[in-house]
């Protein structure tokens, strides 16, 4: 522990102003503060502060994502690892470059984005798509707004949306999960395949959401544990539920938006199914298939891009849930979660504005009496 401290102490002068490496100061600071807490003391009241800081806050999200990563690894094999690494490397590079240019601190937000983004991709995605997507997401989804805390759109979803629209043919590399007890943990693919060659197991256009449109009904249990084709982190509802429990137990995510999304989604799906059971799949199916659970637990609850007010969160969640099921059932796309979240992000400031308007009116009236 002491020797790490010494390393930083000996390196610090090299990053001082007017030295060669001064441009990389944010990188140095971030690395140092990653290892050692900042060690500042309070100057004004309150004299103590809660020990939850932004690093711990973001780390918790990563902890909550681990079950999904493990599930993805089990179902789709080791090839998800290079995808995650690429996402972190490229996303981190963009973040560091922008921070150095702006001479600001490196924000911890990209640690979450870097993991969220690959989990929303099909398992057989070429790495260059991953790189383009995460770079686009971090830069246009976040940095141009001023960094974590000021961004309008969820960076992971922004990147996902970009590659889905720009490279649709490369975004349908679905892989059938392994059928043995070991999933695909021991499966091997040639490395060349990471750069674009299609995996032998790849199946095209056969996610449950598409399948159900052609009349096939998958097994419930398969959907629940994730034994179906789909994006890396999305298929296993079980893993997502474990993540949700972690998020809620540590008070990282606000339950309001999560609940509103799922309830409104489920209710509308049930109503549609009730009136036209032939045309629309059942609500339970919709809940377990596709990205709704993953989105509701990890994307809708993103505090930055959602509304800040509690009432706003209900409205926001409801909006996303309703739009998702409408796109799924009536739109041309099989999955609507991505567009619904982006739409929700766009509406969030407006929702906040309206809620606060009403809220302020309350204050003003109170002031008069």
């Amino acid at each position: 522990m002491k020797f790490i401290h010494d390393i930083f102490d000996s390196l610090r002068p090299a990053f001082a102003d007017n030295r060669k490496l001064s441009k990389l100061k944010p990188l140095f600071d971030a690395t140092e503060n990653f290892f050692f807490s900042a060690g500042l003391t309070t100057s004004t009241g309150p004299h103590v502060r809660h020990s939850m800081d932004i690093k711990r806050f973001m780390s918790m999200v990563i902890v909550a994502l681990i079950p999904c990563v493990l599930a993805g690894f089990y179902l789709f094999g080791w090839r998800i690892i290079p995808i995650i690494i690429t996402s972190y490397l490229v996303g981190g590079l963009v973040e560091v470059l922008v921070a150095c240019l702006r001479k600001e601190e490196i924000n911890e937000g990209f640690l979450v984005t870097g993991l969220l983004f690959p989990l929303t991709l099909p398992p057989d995605t070429p790495l260059w798509i991953v790189a383009i997507g995460v770079a686009f997401g971090v830069f246009f989804g976040k940095e141009i707004f001023g960094g974590t805390g000021r961004n309008l759109f969820n960076p992971a979803i922004t990147g996902r949306c970009f590659v889905a629209l720009a490279y649709p043919t490369h975004m349908s590399g679905w892989i059938e999960p392994g059928s043995s007890v070991f999933g695909r943990i021991f499966d091997f693919w040639p490395f060349s395949m990471l750069w674009g060659a299609t995996a032998p197991e790849a199946v095209t256009s056969a996610t449950p959401l598409l399948a159900v449109k052609t009349g096939q009904q998958p097994e419930w249990l398969d959907l629940f544990i994730g034994n179906s084709t789909g994006c890396i982190g999305e298929t296993s509802t079980l893993a997502i539920i474990i993540g949700a429990v972690i998020l809620l137990a540590f008070k990282i995510a606000n339950w309001r938006a999560m609940l509103a999304t799922l309830v409104s989604f489920f209710a509308l799906a049930a109503i549609m199914h009730y009136f036209q059971p032939q045309r629309f799949a059942s609500a339970w199916f919709h809940l377990l298939a596709g990205g709704i659970m993953f989105g509701a637990v990890f994307m809708v609850t993103d505090p930055v891009t959602g509304p800040a007010t509690n009432i706003g969160k209900y409205i926001y969640g409801t909006l996303i849930g309703v739009i998702t099921i409408l796109i799924r059932n009536l739109g041309g796309y099989a999955e609507g979660m991505m567009f619904a979240i982006l739409l929700g992000n766009t509406a969030a400031p407006l929702i906040d504005y309206m809620v606060i308007k009403v809220y302020n009116r309350q204050f003003i009236q109170e002031g008069r009496t």
């Binding site: 290892f35 009241g45 309150p46 103590v48 809660h50 020990s51 911890e108 606060i356």
Partner: protein
């Protein structure tokens, strides 16, 4: 429920715990365990070498001196006066005036065994001000000591005092419930139109019932119950909830003030001592004390065995308290407790990755450590969930950040009671409370300017 015995100057008491000072509870479902809350008996301390009497109390300054250096004074003799009232500052003990500075009068060669000078009998209202009991009273909305002839519309008696580490009110009540109730009756006598709100927490129901029984014959005493959550015990919030307005005279008085009043009227005693606690993670012996006003803080800290590390001494609880210079300062009437924290800025390896639920293990982190770096607000909403005034601190922060005072005002900036919870909880470590205090001051200055402009 309050059993006490008095032997040889030390009070030993058994009391049913009604406010649990080992946990800090606040809105939003937080329940944090604290180490070293004050416990046990109330200790009387030996006569000190010197008393440091502060010439500033709330908004008043005792500018007119009535003694000169080296003069011998009796207990209860007036030392200085301010023209508001006029109000006097009394000598808590007999002794000799040693120095007089702009801020303090320092007494030496103290003698605690002399006959005190008595209060001249008068109406209750007069006695409050002539006995020195006014140091325990302030106006809820302005924070000032009330004017001598102002008749309050309402008085809030703060039995519920929920800031962590400060004195549990039971300790104050230990004097005797009877005496407390007689004080209440005297206060209720000030005017038949003054309503006395006695603020208790739900858990203090037994106590509340006793008070209710003892004062059944007085019509203008009313009990107010609040949930046992820090922040909700703020008198201004309660007054707001009861529909009082900022331009009314609303008083707030601590149980100590009630006792002081009872003693002044019944026994003619002047207010010369106070009860307080010294506790916090950085003391080895958290303790309640009965001390004369002006008692040196340094002596108190020594008696409580402050740990051997850099410490910060705070007047009040950790949330809303103010840092105090321990040297050459004396106890004042508005101190309910001193909290001593380790002034720690050690850099810890991989601190954010520790295991465990924080709330239960928070005692390990209870120092003046900032706990993280300042970042942009991420709208996590924690601050909203804890704010006892029901504000949106993150929204206010954003408005003040771009200097939009008008909109901040309509978003309720003036309703902030500086409880400190939002800054405490903020994951981005933003100094919200400080920003709001500054914003309020700015608003006031602007209103002042515009009203001058009109005149």
């Amino acid at each position: 429920m309050l059993i006490y015995t008095q032997d040889s100057g030390n009070y030993s008491l058994k009391l049913e715990k009604t406010v649990d000072k080992t946990f800090m509870k606040y809105k939003g479902g937080y329940n944090i365990r604290l180490s070293n809350p004050p416990t046990g008996n109330v200790l009387a301390l030996p006569t000190p070498e010197q008393l440091f009497l502060t010439r500033h109390i709330a908004d008043i300054y005792f500018d007119e001196l009535m003694v000169s250096p080296d003069e011998k004074v009796d207990q209860g003799q007036a030392l200085a006066r301010c023209n508001k009232g006029p109000l006097n500052m009394h000598a808590p003990m007999a002794g000799t005036v040693k120095y007089i500075t702009d801020n303090q009068i320092i007494l030496g060669q103290l003698n605690s065994n002399t006959a005190p000078t008595k209060v001249t009998p008068g109406s209750t209202q007069d006695t409050i001000f002539s006995s020195g009991c006014f140091i325990h009273i302030n106006e809820v909305y302005s924070g000032k000591i009330p004017a001598k002839d102002s008749i309050p519309q309402a008085i809030f008696v703060r039995i519920a005092n929920l800031d962590n580490y400060v004195m549990a009110s039971e300790i104050e009540l230990m004097g005797s419930l009877q005496e407390f109730c007689s004080g209440l009756k005297l206060l209720a006598d000030i005017s038949k139109d003054t309503i006395l709100h006695v603020v208790v927490t739900k858990k203090q129901a037994v106590l509340a019932k006793k008070i209710k029984n003892d004062t059944a014959d007085i019509s203008n005493i009313e009990l107010v119950t609040i949930p046992p959550r820090y922040g909700l015990d703020n008198t201004r919030l309660i007054a707001d909830r009861w529909g009082y307005r900022a331009d009314q005279h609303i008083w707030s008085i601590s149980p100590q003030g009630i006792f002081a009043l009872a003693r002044a009227v019944n026994q003619g005693e002047k207010t010369t001592y106070t009860y307080m606690s010294v506790s916090g993670p950085a003391v080895n012996r958290p303790q309640y004390y009965k001390v004369p006003l002006g008692y040196p803080i340094a002596d108190l800290l020594k008696a409580s065995e402050v740990k051997d590390c850099p410490v910060r001494v705070i007047n009040g609880g950790v949330m809303s308290g103010i840092e105090l210079a321990a040297d050459q300062t004396g106890v004042t009437g508005d101190i309910a407790g001193l909290t001593v924290l380790e002034n720690n800025s050690a850099r810890k390896l991989l601190k954010f990755a520790r295991f465990g639920l924080d709330d239960r293990r928070f005692e390990d982190f209870f120092t003046t450590d900032m706990q993280g770096e300042v970042r942009a607000c991420v709208s996590c909403g924690y601050c909203q969930s804890v704010c006892p005034a029901g504000l949106l601190p993150d929204y206010l922060h954003k408005l003040l950040y771009c200097n939009d005072l008008d909109r901040a005002q309509s978003a309720g900036l003036n309703k902030c009671v500086h409880c400190g919870l939002c800054s405490f909880i903020c994951v981005s470590k933003i100094e919200l409370t400080e920003q709001f205090i500054k914003g309020q001051a700015q608003l006031k200055a602007e209103q002042h300017k515009s009203s001058e402009g009109q005149a």
